[in-house]
Each structure stands twice: as structure tokens, then as C-alpha cells.
């Protein structure tokens, strides 16, 4: 099993969710996060005082999928989240040791 963690532009969330649903990804966890990579922040001005904002709002999608499906899911995320501009985000992939469904203690891929 692989855990796929995608940090994307907030306004791309609906596109990515829709694309993942279309290839049959069943579950995901979404959080609103703030951060930055190489992208520069922006400047806000309140009554003449400038504030440099370098942590920008992003959305983090986490999902665990069978290893065989990982590449397809990654491709789908890239296609649906990409604008080609700086700030599109990143994808991280982890190996997952096990998974457990709390309701009936299914384990491994059966729990996904």
C-alpha cells in the first residue's frame, strides 16, 4: 500500500476530487494548510503598513491506495491539479505498513 500526500492550490480541490472519483478512489482526507515551497508570498497593506505573507493557503489531500494503483492516482492528481505556474504544489509518496478498519478490524488492502 502507498500513502499519497498531495499539496495543491486550494482552488484546484474540486477538480482533483472529481478526477479521483472518476477513477474510483474511495476515500481521502483533506485539510486546509499553510506553507510555501519556492513560491514567493505576497504583500498585504493595512493603513499603509506592509505585511509580507510568506505562508500561503494550500490544501493537503491524503489517501492510501493499493501499490498497484499508485501511479494511476498520481497521474490523475497531476493532470487535475496542474496549472503550469509556480505554486501548483507537490506530491509525496510513502510506503504504508498496514491499515485497519476500526469497525470490524479488517486489515491490509481490505481495510482501504
Amino acid at each position: 500500500m502507498k500513502k499519497i500526500e498531495a499539496i495543491i492550490q486550494p482552488f484546484k480541490l474540486e477538480d482533483v476530487k472529481e478526477a479521483l472519483k472518476n477513477i474510483g478512489v474511495e476515500g481521502m482526507t483533506v485539510s486546509e494548510v499553510r506553507g510555501h515551497g519556492r513560491q514567493k508570498g505576497h504583500t498585504e497593506v493595512y493603513r499603509g503598513r506592509e505585511y509580507q505573507v510568506d505562508l500561503l493557503p494550500k490544501v493537503k489531500i491524503e489517501m492510501v491506495v493499493p501499490a498497484a494503483r499508485a501511479e494511476e492516482v498520481i497521474r490523475t492528481v497531476i493532470q487535475s491539479a496542474r496549472t503550469g505556474k509556480i505554486g501548483d504544489g507537490k506530491i509525496f509518496i510513502y510506503d504504508v505498513v498496514d491499515a485497519i478498519r476500526i469497525r470490524n478490524q479488517d486489515r491490509g488492502e481490505a481495510a482501504l
Binding site: 498585504e44 497593506v45 493595512y46
Partner: protein, 457 residues
């Protein structure tokens, strides 16, 4: 009043016997007076409520949105508690010290505990409305004035210190200043034998210069916020500030047009000037900010409107609509540069710009009142033969600008000196500033034991 027009009276005389008419005249006279009193009183009660609405929720929202999330309740409480504290003080001695006849500087004790203040008009101030109405209308001004100061020391003043400071400030700074400008026989009261006739229709000196200058002293005395100017001091919710500013704009009609003390043509004139001043000041700030920073901010537009309302306050019952546009626009531009440029350079932390908006806007408005005041709007000042006297520069009375400047200087001096002394007393009694730990934790939790936003499950 139209009941008394000569034609209808003539017809009345022609159709009834002389004796009947003579007998009915006192009753008719009384009925007319009662009708006018009812109309004036209705407007003044509405105005009083409008002015209270400026403090809560208007100013509380305006200031509350500008602070960080951890201090929003404490900031709102700083204004709300004055609705309670100043009201009690006003009943005990405040009203009497401001409006009792007294001497040229301060009132006396004649109305202490509101003795003699009842439903009968006080002709010294407002002959057509109950004394109760006049007293409560003035109370609303006494509430909002100290509340404005709270913007300077937001996010770092002890609540106990705030209560002591505000109580002393109301008695030592506000009551004498109100007495000098509006009280019978006051030093600056142009309409009641003042030595220095100063025009301040609704409180440019009494409300805005005193609060704004006191705010500057407070900001200098209490020092900068912990970490100022760190990048995390952005306003936490400009939507609240936006709603607050709009409520202030509406409430200000009661403030300025209510200061006519009746539902007269003068009230309409003040209402119009108020609205025009606010509108052009919003544009003034917006244009200045847009051309300097490249973007017209929402906070800028609403701050500009408040600056215009401040500046038009002393002028509102004295100037025509087009000068109101000029006064507003000037204030919007000047206040913008004070807040966005001068303050940054001088480096003091007037956190919510109480000085930049109220001190500066009030001063601009008070001085420009000397330029644009005209007896075409306000004919309250007459010579021995009953002819209206020239008021400001536009009427040919250039000397009025000097009178205005003297009024401004007295307001600055009283506010600065009084505030410094009161801060010293408060500091000695309880300490003015919260501990660094409390300041970092936020005043909502450390002083009041609550948080404003509990969104977590």
C-alpha cells in the same frame, strides 16, 4: 407651526366672536408648543439612540475587527463597559460638571444625582425638549468619547486600569471640555457669552480632539505592543470593521443632526453636511492610497469615511454642502498620510489610529470650520438689532480662524496634560499594562477567561 400663519388666524378671527378667540388663544399657543415639543423630542430621542449605537455595536465592531483574534472580546469590552460606567458617573456628577452653570471652565454641582433634571425643558440649552432628553443625548457623547481612546492602547491595557483611567478621564478632561464649549457661560461657547467664541457644532474639539490627543499620549506612555511591528499584527476580521464603520456612518446622523437639538432645518443641514463629508473623505483616502500604494483597500475606504465624519462634526451645523465636500476630502487625504506615512516614520504604536483619525481629523475639521462657517446656514449668532453676525472666513470674518485655533489649542493642552496625569495616577494604583505573559496569551483569555471564536469540535 403652520397653524399660526397669519391667513388662518385672520380667517379664525373673521368667523368667530372676538371674545371667544381671545379666550382660545392661550390654549392654541400651548397646543402649538406641545406639537413642536413632541416633534423635537421624537427626533432627539432617536438621535440619542443613534449615538449610543455608534459605541455599541459600531465602534466595538470597528475596533474589534482591527485587533488580533486573541484580543477581540477584550477590545469590544473596553468600549461596551463605558456604556455602563460613564452612564453611572453621568447620573452622579458628570452631567452636572459638564452642564451645571458653574464657571467658565467647569460646571457646578447643581445637577448632581440628576437633581432638578426632569421632563421640563431647560431653556439654557434646549427650550423645546424635556431636560431628560437633553441630558441623555449628551450622555451618549460622554460615552463614545473615551471609548475612542481605547484604540490607542488596544491589546495591552489592564481592564482594572481601563476602568480607573476612563472614570477619571471623563471627569477631568471630558466634563470641563464639554462645559467650556457647550456649557452655559463656557469659555469657548460662542452662543453663551464665551470669551473665545469657538464654533464646534457636535464635538470636533470636545469629542475628537480630546480623545485623539489623549490617545496619542496613551500610546506614547504605555509603549508598543509586544513584538511591534511584527508581521502577525494584521487585523483579524475586516468584515467586522466594515460593519462597524457603516454603523458609525448611520449613527453619526444622530450625532451631528441631533446636535441641532430639534427637528429643525438646521438639523437637515447638519445631516446633509455629515453625509457629504463622509462620502468625499472616503474618496479622498481611497485616491491617496490608490495612487501611492497601487491598490484601493477596503480598510482605507472605511477609515476615510470615518475621518470625514470626524472632520465634519464641528462644521456640520455651520457649513453648506459643497464646503462639506471640501472638508471631507481634505481630511481623508491628510489623515491617510498621517496614518500611513507619518506614524510609520515616528514609530509610535497608536494601534488602531485613534490619534491619526480623531486627533488629526478633528483638528482639520475645527480649523476648516473657521473658514467655511456661514450665517446662511446658522443664524444663531446675532447683533443687538437681531441681524445675523458673520461667522467664518467666507462671511468675511477671518478672525474666526484664530478663535478656532485657540479652541483647538485649549483642547490639545487639556487632553494632553489631563491624560498624562491620569495615566500616572492609574499606573501608581494598579499598573497600566498587562504582564508580557498575558499580552502574548491574549487579553480575551487572560483578562476575561473567554475566547471569541470556538469553532473546534
Amino acid at each position: 407651526m403652520s397653524l399660526l400663519c397669519p391667513v388662518s388666524l385672520g380667517m379664525l378671527l373673521a368667523t368667530a366672536s372676538g371674545a371667544d378667540v381671545a379666550a382660545s388663544l392661550p390654549a392654541l399657543h400651548e397646543a402649538v408648543q406641545a406639537a413642536q415639543s413632541s416633534a423635537d423630542n421624537a427626533w432627539m430621542l432617536v438621535s440619542s439612540a443613534l449615538v449610543l449605537m455608534m459605541t455599541g455595536p459600531g465602534l466595538a465592531l470597528f475596533y474589534g475587527g482591527l485587533v488580533r483574534r486573541k484580543n477581540v472580546l477584550a477590545t469590544m469590552m473596553q468600549t461596551f463597559v463605558l456604556m455602563a460606567l460613564i452612564t453611572v458617573l453621568w447620573a452622579l456628577v458628570g452631567y452636572s460638571l459638564a452642564f451645571g452653570e458653574g464657571n467658565a471652565v467647569v460646571g457646578d454641582w447643581r445637577y448632581a444625582l440628576l437633581r432638578g433634571v426632569d421632563g421640563i425643558p431647560n431653556p439654557d440649552y434646549a427650550a423645546t425638549i424635556p431636560h431628560h432628553t437633553f441630558m441623555v443625548f449628551q450622555l451618549m457623547f460622554a460615552i463614545i468619547t473615551p471609548a475612542l481612546i481605547a484604540g490607542a492602547f488596544a491589546e495591552r491595557m489592564k481592564f482594572s486600569a481601563l476602568l480607573i483611567f476612563m472614570a477619571l478621564w471623563a471627569l477631568i478632561v471630558y466634563c470641563p471640555m464639554a462645559h467650556m464649549v457647550w456649557g452655559k457661560g463656557g469659555l469657548l461657547n460662542a452662543f453663551s457669552g464665551g470669551v473665545i467664541p469657538c464654533f464646534d457644532f457636535a464635538g470636533g474639539t470636545v469629542v475628537h480632539i480630546t480623545s485623539g490627543v489623549s490617545a496619542l499620549i496613551c500610546a506614547l506612555y504605555i509603549g508598543k505592543r509586544h513584538g511591534y511591528p511584527s508581521p502577525n499584527m494584521k487585523p483579524h476580521n475586516l468584515v467586522l470593521s466594515f460593519m462597524g464603520a457603516c454603523l458609525l456612518w448611520v449613527g453619526w446622523f444622530g450625532f451631528n443632526a441631533g446636535s441641532a437639538l430639534g427637528s429643525s432645518a438646521l438639523a437637515s443641514s447638519a445631516f446633509v453636511a455629515t453625509h457629504f463629508g463622509a462620502a468625499s473623505a472616503a474618496l479622498g483616502w481611497m485616491v491617496a492610497e490608490w495612487s501611492r500604494m497601487g491598490k484601493p483597500s477596503v480598510l482605507g475606504a472605511i477609515s476615510g469615511a470615518v475621518c470625514g465624519l470626524v472632520a465634519i462634526t464641528p462644521a456640520s451645523g455651520f457649513v453648506k454642502p459643497l464646503p462639506a465636500l471640501v472638508i471631507g476630502f481634505t481630511a481623508g487625504v491628510i489623515c491617510y498620510f498621517m496614518v500611513a506615512s507619518v506614524k510609520q516614520r515616528l514609530g509610535y504604536d497608536d494601534s488602531l489610529d485613534a490619534f491619526g483619525v480623531h486627533g488629526v481629523g478633528g483638528t482639520v475639521g475645527a480649523l476648516m470650520t473657521g473658514v467655511f462657517a456661514t450665517n446662511a446656514v446658522n443664524s444663531g449668532l446675532t447683533d443687538a438689532a437681531g441681524r445675523p453676525l458673520p461667522l467664518g472666513l467666507v462671511d468675511g470674518n477671518a478672525a474666526q480662524i484664530l478663535n478656532q485655533a485657540l479652541g483647538v489649542a485649549i483642547a490639545w493642552a487639556l487632553a494632553a496634560l489631563g491624560t498624562f496625569v491620569i495615566l500616572k495616577i492609574t499606573d501608581a494604583l494598579v499598573g497600566v499594562r498587562v504582564s508580557p505573559e498575558h499580552e502574548i496569551q491574549g487579553l480575551d483569555l487572560s483578562l476575561h477567561g473567554e475566547e471569541a471564536y470556538n469553532f473546534e469540535v
